[in-house]
């Protein structure tokens, strides 16, 4: 049967080519290529190539997963790094060669499925074929079933019995006045196979749909109504739009974090994150909800996920003119205990009232800092001992000069511009200071800094993937098809009722499965049960 399959999945044989025109040769070559591509052997090879091609994607850092690691890897491997980069090694799953393999695989799949589907439909529509002339040649058979009665009545009985067992049955009158009953079941196996392979196609199409029409964007949101964001690209820290998505297509909503709660186990591992948010869609009314890990906020298109959390110190700086400003500066955590680092910048500090900024003598102020939610018992460790605020402290180092914000080059909001420091335009002032919440410190230049406390922040990810539902449907169909294909059994049974004398039976399985014989015997058993004088002589 498998041999048959290999035939059925191949393209029809090419007609013998007369003349040897270049056109014909090309067509011939094309045909041969197509037949090679749609053969099961090729499918097998392509499957392997696909598995092989995925391996570097798991071993080398990938841009879509962790760009920092890619950059680090590139910095460490000066020769090999860029070479691999040319080969798309840091973006394996979007690389031309990876795509080539799966596209070939799916072309092969289409090429192999369509003829199969056609053949299968024909097979399903076809009535069960007539009994072979010699049933005793079949792998299992029983002769001399003594079923009394008119042949037509016996045949009817057999017909009913087989129908009850879900066979498709055809009763045929023979020229000699006898009757044959042909029954067949198990097209489901092939149906399952075709469903499975078509589901694979559906999934691929859905994945493509998602990557064209979907988008995702990340945003760090500090708690507080003044710190919310709306679903527009300018407000995101990072985003990726599908090829067919325009910025105007984003679902219009705004969201702010009203409260954030984190609970931790005694070993510092988080156990619950709970983000309470207010949001509005378009011009709709404001709503409140809670977003948790595993429980995103599902809007009609976009979904909003809670990814992580950290602290944003709130710092008040009073400059030499007595002018104070308050900044909320989210710090990024560097370890699982939420040791956090960042900068607090006051670009408008020390501007003499009534005068403008002197571009040659900027006196902007910034603090680079580390925040420890729990200062360890040995403070020299410099790392937090617990992620919740049990004994918080903020360490700050002051810098003064030109922050380099006006150069028009986007700079990180989590670190000072190292060029400015190296070039001496931004100078360190005094020694680092440590503050507890509420504490104020006088700085060496006479200005003042106060640590007001912290606000929690949460990273939110906004996602839209229109292919998702289709992927899920495809995956479920794939599983159903797979199970049906692996469980399915094909069986044909025939009875030959002669005008006179004993009835003969035989069966053929497209593949011999355990219980095949048992099933046949049970059918024969049933046939005999209709009559009370069993004289079955099996093939034993």
């Amino acid at each position: 049967m498998a041999a048959l399959d290999e035939l059925t999945i191949q393209a029809p044989a090419e007609p013998p080519s007369r003349g040897l025109g270049p056109g014909r040769a090309l067509v011939g070559l094309g045909r041969r290529l197509w037949r090679w591509l749609t053969s099961m052997r090729t499918a097998l090879i392509l499957l392997f190539l696909l598995a092989l091609a995925a391996i570097p994607g798991s071993l080398l850092p990938q841009r879509n997963l962790n760009i920092d690691k890619v950059n680090k890897y590139l910095a460490q491997h000066r020769v090999l790094g860029p070479l691999l980069d040319h080969l798309w090694a840091y973006n394996v799953f979007a690389s031309p060669w990876f795509s080539a393999i799966y596209l070939l695989l799916f072309v092969s799949l289409v090429g192999c499925l369509i003829p199969r589907l056609r053949a299968h439909i024909a097979a399903v529509l076809r009535v069960p074929p007539d009994a072979p002339s010699r049933l005793e040649r079949l792998p299992v058979h029983a002769e001399d079933l003594d079923l009394p009665g008119e042949p037509a009545a016996v045949a009817q009985q057999l017909h009913d019995l087989l129908r009850k067992r879900r066979f498709r049955v055809r009763v045929r009158e023979q020229a000699d006045g006898g009757i044959t009953v042909s029954a067949e079941k198990g097209h489901l196996k092939e149906t399952g196979n075709i469903l499975f392979h078509f589901s694979l196609l559906a999934i691929l199409i859905a994945v493509a749909l998602g990557s064209w029409y979907g988008y995702h964007a990340d945003r760090l949101v500090v708690q507080g109504a003044d710190q919310g964001f709306c679903n527009t690209l300018q407000q995101y820290d990072d985003y990726g739009l599908g090829a067919r998505v325009k910025p105007a297509n984003l679902e219009p909503f705004c969201l702010d974090l009203t409260n954030f709660q984190a609970t931790y186990l005694s070993n510092g591992e988080p156990s619950v994150y709970k983000a309470s948010v207010d949001y509005t869609i378009g011009n709709g009314p404001a709503k409140s909800t809670v977003i948790q890990v595993n429980h995103p906020l599902r809007l009609s298109h976009a979904r909003i996920y809670l990814l992580g959390t950290g602290y944003a110190p709130v710092v008040k700086y009073t400059d030499k003119y007595g002018h104070s400003q308050t900044e909320v500066a989210p710090f990024l955590s560097t370890d699982s205990m939420l040791t956090s680092t960042g900068v607090v910048e006051f670009p408008d500090a020390n501007v003499a009232p009534g005068k403008g900024v002197d571009p040659n003598d900027k006196q902007q102020v910034a603090f680079s800092g580390t925040f420890l939610p729990t200062v360890p018992s040995d403070p020299s460790v410099g790392q937090s001992a617990f992620p919740a605020e049990r004994n918080p402290a903020l360490m700050l180092t002051m810098y003064k000069g030109d922050l380099g914000l006006d150069a028009g080059i986007p700079t990180s909001v989590y670190a000072l511009d190292q060029h400015q420091i190296d070039d001496g335009r931004l100078k360190k002032v005094g020694a680092p200071i440590q503050l507890k919440p509420g504490q104020t410190a006088a700085l060496s230049d006479g200005t003042k800094i106060q640590f007001l406390g912290t606000r929690p922040w949460a990273t939110m990810q906004v996602r839209y993937d229109p292919g998702e539902t289709l992927v899920l449907v495809g995956a479920v169909c794939l599983l159903i098809g797979l199970i049906v294909m692996l469980l399915g059994k094909r069986l044909r049974v025939w009875f030959r009722v002669p005008p006179e004398g004993p009835v003969a039976a035989g069966a053929l399985a497209r593949s011999v499965y355990p219980g095949f014989t048992a099933e046949f015997e049970s059918i024969v058993e049933d046939a005999r049960a209709a009559d009370q004088r069993p004289t079955l002589r099996g093939s034993r």
């Binding site: 499957l47 890990v293 399985a509």
Partner: protein, 333 residues
């Protein structure tokens, strides 16, 4: 409870190790005839009523088999009585080990107040339990495969040993991302599939050994084939185990994707764990394909199954311990 679980692990490993020794004793003392005879008897039963050969190379089940009449060779060590006795003790020990293993997993669950497969240590514990269960079920249904016991218990002892020594993690609740009912479904399916695939791997490896032995190879791994059941029976067993496990593995991946959608915002992100699950899935699909392709030799197909298990092992050990990704809360300290 947690301490009980830890003690039971030791008991289970010891019992499996002793079972391995007694299986080995049966292996050494048993004369090939005993094993071969049981195997033949079984196969005769399967063949009852089957007349002419039917198309072989089919997927589902036993093609026609001609039974080679194995000569009863008696080696110098052969002593059927010791062998039979050892065989029975081995099964009893396996059963004892299995009970301790069940106790170990269950008490761990009670200690942690959750399903006991939340970190890598527990995962391996559960996978090996499924493997051991599958082994006992197979053994009940086909006593003739007992010679595989040596290798099954070897695999169990190695995996559990690594687990207890290298991967041990104290009882702890789950991190938020793992706290989902999809965890229970996804990981349960993954555990089940992995456990059965582990048995499938043992069967596949032994198929290759026995095939080599039947082809006249006498070097080390093939010499083990002496006392194994006939290769084509093993090969069919290999197929059935994989055909059973593959849909479960598929289901596990699908549930994982659903869970990932809820937890991380995307159903598939080529995270290393996902990538290797995919690789293993593709290799196993390749195995099923290869077996359904007549022009591919059965030995090659079986090799593919062995490679598939290699991918599963890489996913379990290398990805959890070496490569970092979203799944790297395996909890190994």
């Amino acid at each position: 409870m947690a301490a009980l679980s830890d003690h039971l692990l030791v008991v289970a490993i010891l019992a499996y190790a002793l079972a391995m020794l007694t299986y080995a004793a049966e292996y050494a003392f048993g004369n090939r005839g005993v094993v071969a005879r049981v195997a033949v008897r079984e196969r005769r039963r399967e063949l009852v009523g089957v007349g002419a050969p039917v198309d072989s190379g089919s997927l589902d089940e036993p093609g026609p088999v001609d039974l080679p009449d194995e000569p009863e060779s008696a080696g110098p060590l052969d002593d059927p009585r010791i062998a039979a006795w050892a065989g029975r003790v081995a099964i009893a020990l396996t059963l004892a080990g299995w009970l301790a293993h069940v106790g170990c997993v269950v008490s761990r669950g009670f200690a942690a107040h959750r399903v006991p497969w939340g970190n890598m240590y527990e995962f391996v514990l559960a996978v090996t339990l499924v493997g051991a269960t599958a082994w006992l079920v197979l053994l009940m249904r086909r006593p003739s495969i007992r010679p595989l016991g040596l290798f099954v218990s070897l695999a169990l002892v190695i995996l559990l040993g690594i687990d207890g020594v290298k991967l041990y993690t104290p009882v702890a609740p789950l991190v938020p991302a793992l706290n989902s009912y999809w965890l229970k479904i996804h990981v349960t399916a993954a555990v089940t599939a992995s456990g059965i695939l582990m048995m499938g791997f043992v069967a596949a490896a032994l198929t290759l050994i026995r095939t080599g032995f039947e082809a006249g190879k006498t070097r080390f791994p093939y010499s083990l084939g002496d006392r194994l059941p006939a290769a084509d029976g093993l090969e069919r067993l290999t197929f059935r185990l994989h055909a059973f496990a593959f849909p479960i593995w598929t289901f596990a991946i699908i549930c994982g994707a659903i869970w990932a959608e809820a937890a991380w915002g995307r159903y598939w992100g080529w995270d290393p764990k996902e990538t290797w699950a995919f690789i293993a899935w593709v290799i196993y699909a390749g195995y099923l394909h290869a077996r359904a392709t007549p022009s591919v030799k059965r030995t090659i197909a079986t090799w593919i199954a062995v490679i598939g298990w290699g991918a599963m092992m890489i996913n379990l050990f290398v990805v959890n311990l070496v490569v970092s990704g979203l799944h790297s809360y395996a909890g190994v300290g």
